[in-house]
Symmetry: C2
Subunit: 452 residues, 2 copies
């Protein structure tokens, strides 16, 4: 039934998604403010087209939130769909094979910024709703909460949820913003890492100096920053920030053994990244390093002369952006504070250091003994023909923990992306097959979740 | 005599220098090729105006060299002036108070890229020649060799000197491309450091990755590069490259004691840079750290996301530009090789490292028991009223060692800049007083150098 509906409408679905992808809704960049509004309005229109009773673009202190609902009977359960319409910046732009905001299909994949994360995966839900409404098979109430600030850490969504608890009450939250292990190995994400993201600045002399006249006598902010970053991890790739691991809950050997059973081919993994060797915390496997261990990565660094040729300068300042991924029970605010205290201590005399905490979020663990989890499992068995594997992702969706805290509702992370989709990177893409497979699976979830 | 000539012509001299400064002759940037030619032609015209017999713009594999001469009697000695018409890039452009190529005078200082280095200091020689020719007081022959590639390491000048030894023969080379200790403490530079300048690249995965999904499991090129840079120096700020110090000639305690007598106020030095503390190799004073010790500075670093806000990326590549200043007897080619061998060894499995040696030059030491040095000393006594102090600079002019090797001629480094002139930095400037003081001093040098 849903399959034939998809088959009849697949070209239109893709065209609509392309319209969605063409709007450059980069939340991190101020000059995209109008495009953000345009995108929210686009969603509102498409939600009405799909059959919701009400849809609204609601202001926040940042980019607006799109809220919609279709209440068929207040006594029935309510599924709330969460997604985000903002995307990551596109640099380095020169590595894109096609323009990031001119979507196109190549080799069965949709290429565009946001193709997977999260426009493609979010749009599946709107089309699944359209099917259920037209087919008269929507078995319960449905709500949508779609934000425009996920890629910058959802700074306003928690406040929004607190202020609007009345319109956001629901029984379960369904989210497609994660990946499958592979097309042949469907999986459901049962864990997300938390995040603390900071920007640091090392300031030396108050102006750039000639590296000959001053080199060797004055602290060079780049050398200093590099040395400070190096000291954040030891030779075993353990993070050296005092008390960093204090709140980490240890995982039982049984759980680690279960994790090791998930299909994972280290050779394929290395080949897909063109690396000769992996590198991570001693004593843990690659899956454990991203699934159950906290990490620290420099996401950007800059300072001094970065143009063509040689400039012999001892720069005044150097900068880095640092992301720490956290595991359950670690608190981003506390981690950011531990980082700052330690980082400031690492600075030698002669430089000033500034640490700016940009955003953060808690980790999340999804229980597997719930009706919702079992409905997700059954719906994937129906569409993929295989039982999905529960899987802990290394990524973060901070708002999932906020939903639990504010609304008291758990989320189901049923995503249809692949790790090879290059989200946050040049040539982001999303499998056309999985886009349609998602639209097929979602109505099954509604059916199994509401059946007696 | 020369003083009244300067007084009568000072506005014209400044206007001519401004015309020179207005041409953006940045040798490191390909798009400035035409401006480089324009600058060379400008110099040729001004040299003819000043009274040379011949002036020519001569091609090289890079930017051209301007050569000129005035031979009054082949049996008399010949002084050759060396200078360069190229300038450093202007970034960070936003820190300039006035446009780098729109020169202006503020508080008695000429502000422009090249105001000191080297257009201002070079132009003093052309105006000093004009005086001597008009006043009929030129006591010997004079030649000019003015290159356009000093700021990129003079890659073609040595070859040029070898090919044109016949037209470059001379008795002494006079160079104004260095600084005075201060207006009240005139000095002559008797030592220059050598240089080895490299660019390094650390390559991890073949595309940027999501720092959540992959962070902690894959070597992050920025973290790796930072750690490799940190390992280039130990806690005592000594460079750790094996054999790096092998060729360094040790300085006697007597020499170190003499150096310590040069006037130097560490409090003023720190204040002028707005730093609370200096940082350098343990066991050496600030003057020694720049004068007699080799050093290593990162001049630029970049990788990952450097824009506004947060992007959670584990980048594919990270880069740095690294400059090592060398002391007499250290060979840049050998040092670059030692660096590369060591740096490659510092890389963990899972990344590739590329090292690109951009350019280098030998250090230089000037003898003080020569007629030329004594003439420079006397000429400064006459113009400044004080005996100049011999001083070892931390900077590099690689071609000075090449001149000695190819032409067998020593150079006199009689510069009129100040350390506060911000050369290579935003708001480069040159004291108007010292510009005129230089024009006054140069004819004295010619007089004392040629007197019986």
């Amino acid at each position: 039934m849903v399959k034939s509906f998809i088959e009849e409408n697949k070209d239109r679905f893709l065209e609509e998604l392309f319209d969605f992808l063409r709007i450059p809704s980069i939340s991190a960049q101020n000059e995209r403010k109008e495009d953000m509004l345009k995108t929210a309005d686009f969603l509102k229109r498409k939600l009405f087209d799909a059959g919701v009773d009400s849809a609204e673009v609601m202001a926040t202190d940042g980019h607006p939130v799109v809220v919609a609902q279709k209440i068929i009977n207040p006594s029935l359960p309510t599924v709330m769909i969460y997604g985000h319409y903002d995307v990551q910046p596109v640099d380095p732009i020169e590595l894109w094979k096609s323009a990031p905001f001119l979507p196109e299909v190549r080799d069965g994949k949709i290429y565009a910024r946001g193709a997977n994360d999260n426009k493609g995966q979010l749009y599946m839900h709107i089309k699944a709703l359209e099917f259920m409404v037209k087919n008269n098979s929507l078995p319960c109430n449905v709500k949508f909460i779609i934000e425009g600030e996920e890629e910058i850490g959802s700074p306003n969504l928690k406040k929004f949820c607190i202020a609007h608890q009345d319109i956001l009450n629901c029984d379960v939250i369904l989210v497609s913003d994660t990946t499958l292990i592979s097309f042949d190995t469907p999986s459901i994400t049962v864990g997300l890492r938390g995040l603390a993201y900071l920007e640091v600045e090392v300031i030396g002399p108050d102006h750039d100096l000639h590296s000959g006249l001053f080199g060797g006598a004055v602290a060079n902010p780049i050398n200093v920053l590099a040395t400070m970053i190096a000291k954040l991890k030891d030779d075993k790739q353990r993070i050296t920030i005092p008390e960093f691991y204090t709140d980490v809950v240890s995982i039982s050997n049984q759980e680690r053994e279960d994790m090791a059973k998930a299909p994972f081919d280290i050779q394929k993994y290395k080949k897909s990244l063109a690396i000769s060797e992996v590198l991570g915390e001693e004593g843990y496997s690659t899956i454990e390093r991203t699934g159950i261990r906290p990490t620290l990565d420099v996401c950007g660094i800059w300072g001094g002369y970065t143009g063509e040729g040689a400039k012999t300068v001892l720069p005044s300042k150097a900068y880095a952006k640092i992301s720490m991924r956290l595991v359950p029970n670690q608190t981003p605010g506390k981690i950011a504070e531990l980082f700052e205290n330690y980082f400031l201590k690492l600075a030698p005399a002669g430089v000033q250091v500034k640490v700016n905490y940009l955003h953060g979020g808690m980790a999340y663990v999804s229980p597997m003994d719930t009706k919702a989890y079992k409905a997700a499992e059954k719906s994937m068995i129906q569409s993929f023909g295989k039982k999905p594997i529960p899987f802990r992702s290394g990524g973060s969706i901070p708002v999932i923990a906020d939903f639990e805290q504010v609304l008291g509702v758990k989320s189901i992370l049923m995503g249809f992306g692949l790790e090879s989709d290059a989200i946050h990177s040049p040539n982001e893409n999303f499998s056309l097959n999985l886009f349609y497979k998602g639209i097929e699976t979602i109505p099954y979830f509604f059916k199994y979740y509401t059946e007696k």
